[in-house]
């Protein structure tokens, strides 16, 4: 049984690619055969975040056009068993992705035994984004606690409920909210939208909260998904997200300000 999951946000720079990389890596670490597909034609980056940029030979569009076999285009991660990447094309041809071809590749991936197919959507609500969500069974909507991001997330939810293959046959797409770059300190001061504010506005269940952290930049610098170094708060947060996504109960963390002990108050 395969599940197609789209990671979408509308707004750029909120953490779609980081989230795709970490969730794909986390699912693979838990033993599920997982592929992450970069749908951002012309601006591929998932390969870079996952540290396999130098191994890209063929891409998604090559496979759709029949110029390469799916098996040769897929990049197998060297560190995590069960993790594969299908990079986006750097072509500027915007019509390179079309439903028929994308659907065919997804079916072939399902036939190869992939349990999770993570579709990293480009920003915006144009063709690339629509293709990434069209075949999805579930959606992870990434947002920052910030006005433009929340507004765009709501637009994306609108598209998910209208312009997908499930919507066309009257079915719904299960959508989860992932709130990233969250700062409990700012929320406490009343300077940032809180989790409950955003939940109230968007009306979808919370998958998790990822705290604002240096670890995200550090891990993309290295090309190693943050989830692989489980000492950081970001890794812990993404691990929780993966567990919840797999149906396990995990208490929400990183929502409240960390209590500092007397020593950390003095020397932290």
């Amino acid at each position: 049984m395969s599940k197609v999951v789209v990671v979408a946000s509308g707004k750029g720079g909120v953490g779609k690619t980081t989230t795709s990389a970490n969730i794909a890596a986390g699912l693979a670490q838990k033993g599920h055969k997982t592929v992450a597909i970069d749908f951002d034609v012309g601006l591929r980056n998932l390969d870079l975040v996952l540290g396999c940029e130098r191994r890209v030979v063929y891409d998604f569009v090559n496979v759709i056009k029949g110029e390469a076999k799916l098996n040769t285009a897929l990049i197998r991660d060297k560190r995590i068993e069960n993790l594969f990447v299908l990079p986006a094309s750097q072509t500027r041809d915007k019509d390179a992705l079309e439903p028929e071809g994308v659907g065919r590749v997804l079916e072939e991936l399902k036939g190869m035994g992939f349990e999770y197919i993570i579709c990293d959507s480009p920003a915006g609500i144009e063709k690339g984004a629509q293709m990434a969500m069209y075949f999805a069974d579930e959606a992870i909507v990434v947002a920052n606690p910030e006005v433009s991001s929340v507004r765009d997330a709501d637009r994306v939810l609108g598209l998910l409920s209208a312009k997908t293959s499930r919507a066309e046959v009257g079915k719904t797409i299960k959508s989860h909210l992932l709130l990233t770059r969250y700062s409990p300190v700012m929320v406490k001061k009343g300077e940032m939208l809180s989790v409950s504010d955003v939940l109230e506005l968007l009306g979808i269940p919370l998958l998790g909260v990822i705290p604002e952290s240096k670890a995200v930049l550090q891990s993309s610098n290295k090309g190693t998904p943050a989830i692989m170094d489980d000492t950081t708060d970001v890794a812990q947060a993404y691990l929780d997200v993966v567990y919840r996504f797999l149906g396990e109960e995990r208490e929400q963390r990183f929502i409240d300000e960390e209590k500092k002990g007397i020593f950390r108050r003095l020397f932290g």
């Binding site: 006005v147 709501d154 609108g158 409920s161 209208a162 009343g190 300077e191 939208l193 809180s194 504010d197």
Partner: protein, 91 residues
């Protein structure tokens, strides 16, 4: 008075953000999400009719569609020119 304003706390920016968002999000939902495609046109035609009888400011008209458990409520909100303006003898 500077002395008093020192004690008054200004509204927190997060609550401003939430208020602004709840307005814009519900407005955009009405016009885009799931609602019938004819909503914007309906809004315009209703306005055209109303404009024949009342001088209405576009700013003071809102159309929204609320959906709660299988029931849809189409809400048309029009702020009529206030009585003072209306009763003013026309020149």
């Amino acid at each position: 008075m500077p002395f008093l304003s020192f004690f008054r706390t200004p509204p927190k920016s997060a609550s401003l953000a939430k208020d602004r968002l709840s307005v814009i999000v519900s407005r955009e939902r009405a016009s885009t999400r799931g609602g019938p495609d004819y909503l914007p046109q309906l809004q315009q035609e209703l306005l055209a009719v109303l404009a024949r009888y009342e001088k209405i400011d576009l700013q003071h008209v809102s159309v929204s569609l609320d959906r709660t458990e299988g029931r849809e409520v189409l809400e048309l909100n029009i702020v009529l020119p206030d009585a003072a303006n209306k009763n003013r003898p026309s020149a």
